[in-house]
C-alpha cells in the first residue's frame, strides 16, 4: 500500500491577493507526483472555489489535501458564519457576495456548483455561528 501524502494550508481571511496560492501549490505538487492533467484540473478548480469562499464568506480556515493512489480528498474547514440554506447556496446564481468583491469578478454564484461539478463526491457540514466543513473527493 503506497503512502498517503497529506498537505495542510492555513487560509488567511480577507486576503484576495493570496487567495488561490494554496490551490496553485497543490496543482504543482500533483504535477510532481504524476497525477493526470485532467484530474489536476478538477482538483484545482474545486479547491480554488472552496478556498476563495473561505476568504470571502468565512474568516479563512484550514485546508487539508490527502493524496492517495486512488483518490484526492480535500477537506476545507472554516469557523465562519455557516450556510443557512445549503440547497439554495448550491443553486447556480445564488450569491451573498458583497459589492467590493463583485467588482473583482466574484459573485456569480457558481463556486459551489463548480465544486460539485468537478468532484466525484462532495459533502457539506455546516452549523450556523460555528462554521462549515466541506469535503470533496476526486477519484483517480
Amino acid at each position: 500500500m503506497a503512502d498517503v501524502i497529506a498537505l495542510t494550508y492555513e487560509i488567511s481571511p480577507d486576503d484576495f491577493t493570496r487567495a488561490g496560492e494554496a490551490s496553485s501549490d497543490v496543482k504543482s505538487k500533483l504535477k510532481q507526483v504524476g497525477v493526470s492533467p485532467a484530474a489536476i484540473r478538477k482538483v484545482a478548480i474545486a479547491m480554488y472555489e472552496g478556498e476563495i469562499n473561505m476568504v470571502i464568506h468565512a474568516e479563512g480556515g484550514k485546508i487539508t489535501v490527502e493524496i492517495s493512489p486512488t483518490e484526492i480528498k480535500m477537506i476545507l474547514a472554516d469557523k465562519g458564519p455557516g450556510i443557512p440554506d445549503i440547497d439554495r447556496a448550491m443553486q447556480a446564481g445564488w450569491s451573498t457576495a458583497p459589492d467590493e468583491v463583485r467588482s473583482l469578478g466574484f459573485g456569480a454564484g457558481m463556486g459551489l456548483p463548480n465544486m460539485k461539478k468537478y468532484t466525484d463526491e462532495m459533502n457539506i457540514e455546516t452549523t450556523l455561528g460555528v462554521g462549515t466543513t466541506i469535503t470533496m473527493i476526486v477519484k483517480l
Binding site: F16, K27, Y48, E49, A108
Partner: protein
C-alpha cells in the same frame, strides 16, 4: 486549425503585457466572460480567455483553469499585482483597446480562417 500562443503574439494584433513560460501552447478556442467562477467552470483548457478583469484573481483562474492566454479587452489595465502574478505563474497576458467581441473575433478568425 489551431495555432500556438507564440503564433498569436506574432500576428501583432495584441499588446504583450506579460510573456508566459510556455509559448508553444496551443490556442484551441476562445472564452469570454468576466465572472471568475463562470470562467473557472466553463473556460476550456487551452482556450484564449477574453475579459476586462485585470486583477490578481484573473491570473489565479487562468492558471487553475489552464487557459493558454488571457486577453484584456476594452483597454482594461492589469494592476501591478496582476502583472506580478502573471510573471510569477508564467501566464501569457495580452491586451487590446478593442471590445471583447472584436478581440475574440480576431482570435476566432486566426483559428478558423
Amino acid at each position: 486549425m489551431t495555432m500556438t500562443v507564440e503564433e498569436l503574439i506574432g500576428k501583432e494584433l495584441f499588446k504583450v503585457v506579460a510573456e508566459g513560460d510556455d509559448l508553444s501552447r496551443q490556442v484551441t478556442g476562445i472564452f469570454c466572460c468576466d465572472l471568475l467562477s463562470v470562467a473557472m467552470g466553463r473556460a476550456p483548457s487551452d482556450s484564449a480567455w477574453v475579459t476586462v478583469m485585470g486583477n490578481v484573481n484573473t491570473i489565479a483562474v487562468a492558471t487553475l483553469a489552464d487557459v493558454s492566454c488571457v486577453i484584456l479587452a476594452e483597454g482594461a489595465q492589469a494592476d501591478e499585482m496582476c502583472l506580478a502574478r502573471a510573471r510569477q505563474q508564467g501566464v501569457t497576458l495580452l491586451a487590446t483597446e478593442e471590445p471583447v467581441f472584436e478581440a475574440a473575433l480576431r482570435v476566432h478568425e486566426l483559428i478558423h480562417g
